[in-house]
């Protein structure tokens, strides 16, 4: 019963759902998550997780859509999305490199590793390169402290990196990834 009540009204106000919601199938995934929690407010963080998983980041439209569906004020949704470090409101580059700055990594030189990447790829932590190829992020701890200092590249964990070789390591992977893409093109 709750489901019908909570059909998101159109932002245009003409009673029709927005075209983007209908055309983009990824919204179905987010809606499924919200349905699992009975469209109740306590499913907000889970909804944001599935939105970020689907789109890679949370844009204004998606946040408003979630707010409408869960019947929450947009301010609350925006507040939650910005409170947690895991959520990002900016689109990410094609590849993501995360440098762990946890204590174990830090005392084994993670700061130097980060500096080396920043210098070599002309990108600041938290930003994306000008060509949109690489996003550089930092994390608190992956829990892989035995491999310190640790970075991840597109989810692949690389342990015991050194400041001297890390920039090359990433450059190789960037080149490797683009070659695979070239190869996959018909």
């Amino acid at each position: 019963m709750v489901n019908q009540l909570n059909r998101p009204p159109s932002p245009a106000g003409n009673g029709q759902p927005d075209a983007r919601l209908l055309s983009d199938k990824r919204y179905k995934l987010i809606d499924a998550t919200m349905r699992r929690y009975g469209y109740q407010g306590h499913g907000l963080i889970e909804a944001l997780h599935s939105a970020q998983e689907a789109f890679g980041y949370l844009d204004d439209f998606t946040l408003r859509h979630i707010a409408r569906t869960l019947r929450l004020p947009p301010s609350k949704v925006f507040g939650v999305a910005t409170f947690y470090n895991y959520f990002t409101l900016k689109p990410q580059g094609a590849h993501t490199c995360v440098v762990c700055l946890g204590t174990a990594c830090y005392i084994k030189g993670a700061r130097e590793v980060l500096n080396a990447i920043e210098a070599a790829h002309q990108v600041k932590a938290g930003g994306t390169t000008a060509d949109n190829q690489l996003s550089l992020l930092t994390a608190r701890c992956f829990g892989s402290c035995a491999l310190a200092p640790v970075i991840t590249f597109d989810g692949e964990t690389i342990g015991k990196v050194s400041p001297d070789q890390v920039a090359d390591l990433i450059a190789q992977r960037l080149v490797g990834a683009s070659q695979v893409l070239e190869h996959a093109k018909p």
Binding site: L44, I45, E46, F83, Y86, G102, A104, I107, R140
Partner: protein, 565 residues
């Protein structure tokens, strides 16, 4: 599933395992998995097939055996006719080594890969929480049942009243493993007695419970990975502990709050919940009794403050993770206004063995006030980094030098940091101090959730303090002023000291500010945030003094030259 069915599964699983002569255990914890251990498992499987040994040997993916610095690890357990089982541990295994390992099954070990199992790293440990990590396949419930899993839950449901369970836990002397060390039995008793109708409640539709159990798996301390390893390596143990807790306090619904940064733990817990529900060990009428208990996973989203219990509750409710003043404590007014039991992963993992082996057995381990064992994540500048479990009361020296193998070549010990950003640095003079809640508090640190970071003489202690303060500053939720503004100011002062622009007076301000933040902050984050600064100021003051200007700021006419940080 009732007790007979449970025993039947355990029996048939043990029988199936007994038919194999060799068991190859491959660690698939996060650290080893990052080094491709799943490929190694596949390669071993293929090598067995090639040599036609599938009937004789089995490959099993297991949780973390602890010695992460030598990973990927493969343990080979072989049955010998005369002397019982023989275990071998192989270190730094690569996929290419698989064939050689299989070829040497039952014969001479592969010498170049072997690492002794009788080294102090293993012999000095006492495993209760981690007893199954590295032994059972975390993705198969039958494997857990075969080692006695869910027996404690059955015993509780069929032989004990909730009050007896609480008495047993109280008598065991178990204390919260999340850091504060609150007596677990007392907490359970409070939740059990709490009246769910005392405060207005607001439980969402579809959840049929008026009390809750929450397992706190939001392991935010950088440098700590105990809970992750337990959830990854032995997820059913956590679920069993939660169900027992639910029975004892009268809750029918439980939440596991896990960091989103631990995808493997989330995946394994999801699998475990599904298997337990299918086996009738979670859900309605567990074991044919009227008791029902369901468990749901909630993902954290990268906020350190959510390890604080009231903030964690706010996060499960779908809001920002802001703590609130206590009392009322969550035991009376928690999730959606209902009485709520919040325990750490490790605390709950201690419960099943206490029920099975008895409170007296547990109380016989450890010191007078701290019973049982504690899991530590030993990292930093030591030879053997990894996960260890030691009885309470062991000395720091034994942990660092015997189990950890001491410093790498040419370095000397300076300090060990426990408790993460909420803890302190313990200098060499306290190396012979026993590790328990009270002793650690006495020297200005805390037990914490169990991160233990060893620092050598090259570590700059002011920089360490600044690093932790930067962390607390970023992670402060901003609700109360002492923490929100105080951490920023402390960080500025520390930066100023690092840059050599500070004066004696700044040091004095720093101490006053630390005291203020410690005593006036709302929650544990702010109250403990100054600990790293206070402890380094106490034990390594000369390092601070060395970076301070020697009174150059007082000019000839006695006027102070203002400094701007």
């Amino acid at each position: 599933m009732n007790l007979e069915e449970l025993n039947a599964i355990a029996h048939s699983e043990r029988l199936a395992q007994a038919q194999k002569r060799h068991h190859l255990h491959v660690c698939v914890g996060t650290a080893c998995q990052a080094l491709n251990s799943e490929q190694i498992a596949k390669a071993l499987q293929a090598a067995l097939k090639q040599r036609g040994l599938q009937q004789d040997a089995a490959v099993k993916c297991v949780g973390c055996p602890g010695l992460c610095s030598l990973g990927p690890l493969v343990e080979v357990i072989s049955k010998e006719d005369s002397a019982g089982p023989r275990s071998l541990l192989y270190q730094f295994v690569k996929t290419e080594d698989a064939d050689e390992i299989v070829a040497h099954l039952g014969g001479e070990p592969v010498k170049r890969l072997e690492t002794p199992l009788d080294q102090p790293f293993f012999t000095r440990q006492l495993k209760i929480v981690l007893e199954n990590c590295g032994k059972v396949d975390p993705e198969r419930i039958e494997d857990y049942i075969a080692v006695g899993g869910y027996q404690a839950l059955m015993k509780v449901l069929t032989e004990m009243t909730p009050q007896q369970v609480i008495d047993e836990i109280t008598r065991s002397g178990l204390r919260g493993r999340g850091g504060a060390g609150f007596p677990t039995g007392l907490k359970w008793g409070t939740v059990a007695k709490a009246d769910p109708n005392r405060y207005p409640t607001n439980v969402p539709e579809g959840i049929q419970s008026r009390k809750f159990v929450i397992c706190n798996g939001d392991e935010g301390d950088p440098g700590a990975f105990m809970d992750r390893s337990v959830m990854e390596g032995d997820p059913h143990r956590v679920l069993e502990g939660m169900a027992i807790a639910g029975y004892a306090v009268g809750a029918n619904y439980g939440f596991i709050y896990v960091r989103a940064e631990y995808p493997l733990a989330v995946k394994r817990l999801r699998t475990a919940i599904r298997q337990a529900q299918r086996a009738g060990l979670l859900g309605s009428n567990i074991g044919g009794t009227p008791f029902s208990f369901n468990v749901e996973i909630r993902l954290g989203a990268g906020a350190f403050v959510c390890g604080e219990e009231t903030a964690l509750i706010a996060s499960i409710e779908g809001g920002r993770g802001l703590p609130r003043p206590r009392p009322p404590f969550p035991a009376e007014f928690g999730l959606w206004g209902c009485p709520t039991l919040i325990n750490n992963v490790e605390t709950l993992a201690n419960v099943p063995p206490i029920i099975l082996k008895g409170a007296d057995w547990f109380a016989s381990i450890g010191t007078e006030k701290s019973k049982g064992t504690k899991v530590f994540a030993l990292t930093g500048q030591v030879k053997h980094t990894g996960l260890i479990e030691v009885p309470m009361g062991i000395t720091l020296r034994e942990i660092v030098f015997d189990i950890g193998g001491g410093m790498p070549e040419g370095k000397s010990f300076k300090a060990v940091q426990t408790g993460g950003p909420s803890g302190g640095c313990i200098p060499a003079e306290f190396l012979d101090m026993p590790v328990d809640y009270e002793s650690l508090a006495k020297v200005g640190s805390i037990m914490g959730s169990g991160g233990m970071i060893v620092m050598d003489d090259s570590t700059d202690m002011v920089e360490v303090a600044r690093f932790f303060m930067e962390f607390c500053m970023d992670e402060s939720c901003g609700k109360c002023i002492p923490c929100r503004a105080g951490t920023v100011q402390i960080h500025r002062l520390l930066t100023k000291i690092q840059q050599g622009r500070a004066t004696e007076r700044d040091l004095q301000t720093l101490e006053e500010l630390c005291d203020l933040v410690k005593h006036t902050s709302l929650c544990g984050l702010g109250q403990s945030a100054p600990n790293p600064v206070i402890s380094t100021l106490k034990y390594f003051r000369e390092e601070y003094l060395a970076k301070i200007k020697r009174e150059p700021s007082v000019s000839a006419n006695g006027k102070r030259v203002e400094e701007h940080g």
